[in-house]
């Protein structure tokens, strides 16, 4: 937002207004973009600029927050992710082999259609994808009360048989919105799983992002991120699914423990570096007896040595 500085005193161009509006929208905490949008609209007071900003920011926000939308006709949920994007308004749900059409700004799925053959992976890849999805289902169901996950093939989806590399991405998204309790939060993890045929290994890279916002008479936010790596041997689809799920479970459990440790370190170590609970003297400050502190000043003044 470098342009702000140059514009002091002069009118902002529509482009600058749009960029500012987008900045606010993209910095909305999990589950709060609709509220932010309402305020941005009224601050902008220019519906043309507002509509452009919204149409540009919502797709980015929805994809980065891995939001989950209900598909019509009760066929389940679809995750909005960069990995399932067919075009800006269409997202693949590999589990049901459907493509969901979404309205980004309303954050709803308007219709679904069956995915075409070109949009789906080969049977060989689908085998790996599908059993991993099923194995993860048990884990995500146990670990995340409101968790949704999906597995996508992002590279090599047309590989027909062993002998070539391919890459899957596991997305786990859990969000909780309780504005009545002034609290929203989200857990997002993205696991890149690279099957390397020549080395017969599978490399795993995870990115986890956890956010929480508590806003009753204040504004306090948690923003936590973590990246990790692991690997396992290239096995059959069934065995891979089990070991990959174990890897993901292990790292996510460890990360949760690390988060809790960060919280328990707050009172006695981390927060103390900002402000102590009690003074170094361990007693309340002696406001009744502050003469001792200004004494030096009085003496220097009386002796005429201050300045």
């Amino acid at each position: 937002m470098a342009e702000e500085d140059e514009t002091q005193g002069s009118e902002l161009s529509d482009k600058q207004k749009r960029e500012i509006a987008k900045w606010f929208l993209l910095n909305s905490p999990a589950g709060e973009i609709q509220y932010v949008a309402r305020d941005v609209r009224s601050v902008l007071n220019d519906d043309n600029v507002y509509n452009t900003a919204v149409s540009e920011a919502f797709p980015l926000y929805n994809k980065s927050h891995l939001i989950c939308l209900k598909m019509p006709d009760r066929s389940g949920d679809v995750l909005i992710t960069p990995f399932s994007e067919i075009n800006e308004n269409e997202y693949l749900d590999p589990r049901t082999a459907q493509v969901a059409r979404v309205d980004h700004v309303e954050q709803v799925c308007t219709e679904v259609r069956p995915a075409s053959d070109e949009e789906l992976p080969s049977p060989y890849i689908e085998d790996y994808r599908c059993v991993l999805d099923a194995e993860l289902m048990k884990y995500v169901g146990e670990a995340y009360p409101k968790g949704v996950h999906s597995v996508y093939c992002v590279r090599g989806k047309d590989v027909e048989e062993p002998g070539s590399d391919f890459e899957l991405v596991v997305v786990i998204s859990a969000a909780r919105h309780s504005p009545q309790n002034f609290c929203n939060g989200s857990w997002r993890s993205i696991w890149n799983v690279e099957f390397k045929d020549d080395l017969q290994i599978v490399d795993v890279r995870g990115r986890i992002q956890v956010g929480a916002h508590y806003f009753e008479e204040g504004n306090v936010q948690l923003d936590a991120k973590h990246e990790c790596k692991d690997s396992t041997i290239f096995q059959s689809a069934d065995d891979s699914a089990i070991s990959l799920t174990n890897i993901i479970r292990h790292h996510e459990t460890e990360y949760l423990a690390a988060l809790q440790a960060s919280y328990s370190n707050l009172p006695d170590s981390t927060f103390k570096d900002l402000r102590r609970k009690l003074p170094v003297t361990r007693t309340l400050f002696p406001w009744h007896n502050t003469m001792q502190f200004s004494l030096t000043r009085d003496i220097t003044k009386e002796l005429g040595i201050g300045k």
Binding site: R38, S42, N219, V220, A224, I242, S262, F271, R276, K277
Partner: protein, 256 residues
């Protein structure tokens, strides 16, 4: 204005400065309202006379200059910049000295400044400011924090003395951001901003400074506690709602 304040309640607190400058450029007609209602991270300047740093805020500003509490001079120099009366300046000097000790005992570092000025109702207003950089590279004694910022703003209105009593109205704001960063737990940032008010009538026998100091100490302690216990606690609760702690899961899921 309401919408602008709504945005400030949602934007990550460590982005306050960017958000405020964005709002100022979008709604220049509301700039004075925005500057007075949105608390922003405190800035610091060095007093050329004493070599000591002092904190900048709306209360020691005139035009583009800021008055230092140490030398009572405006930086950059300003002719006819308003100054408190001699009597109030005396209290201001004392408050700055005592508050330096208070700040050192609670913060083990940091910068503080106190400003006072007469108000229209024969009383006065005092503003006590503390800024602490608690990061490893700043004044963080223990070296746990990659980044750690604490800004406290206490504005206290003191009413005229009546029958040995005065009314004190204190508004305190704390803004903070702390980040830890290590291999096993990644980046962990908590940021926040809260504001509370406290009103009391006190006997002036103990002196204004003693009364104001006690109120500030009490409210600042309360703000710190509610950030620690309530606000951080609520975000932790949210994390545990999203993904309940391991022991609960393991009870249901014996290791395969």
């Amino acid at each position: 204005m309401e919408a602008a304040m709504g945005l400030m309640r949602r934007i990550p607190p460590n982005q306050t400065e960017t958000a405020l400058s964005a709002l100022l450029s979008l709604m220049p007609e509301h700039s004075s309202d925005l500057l007075s209602q949105v608390d922003q991270p405190l800035q610091v300047l060095c007093d050329v006379d004493s070599g000591k740093e002092f904190i900048l805020c709306e209360y020691n500003r005139d035009a583009d200059s800021y008055r230092s509490p140490w030398s009572n001079k405006y930086h950059p120099p300003l002719e006819d910049g308003p100054c408190p009366s001699l009597e109030l300046r005396k209290l201001e000097i004392e408050a700055n000295e005592v508050f330096t000790v208070y700040r050192d005992q609670y913060y083990e570092g940091g910068i503080s400044s106190v400003y006072m000025w007469e108000d229209e109702n024969e009383g006065f207003v005092a503003c006590f400011l503390i800024k602490k950089d608690g990061s490893k590279s700043g004044h963080g004694r223990r070296g746990y924090l990659q980044e750690g910022a604490w800004d406290a703003i206490h504005v206290i209105e003191v009413g005229p003395e009546e029958e040995g009593m005065a009314h004190y109205c204190l508004t305190s704001t704390v803004m903070l951001s702390l980040t830890t960063n290590n291999e096993s737990s990644g980046t962990f940032n908590l940021s926040g901003s809260i504001r509370r008010q406290m009103n009391t009538d006190l006997s002036v026998a103990d002196g204004h400074l003693c009364n104001m100091g006690k109120m500030i100490e009490e409210l600042e302690g309360k703000l710190r506690n509610s950030l620690d216990q309530v606000y951080f606690g609520k975000t932790k609760e949210m994390v545990c709602t999203l993904r309940p702690p391991a022991e609960l899961v393991e009870m249901r899921l014996p290791d395969s």
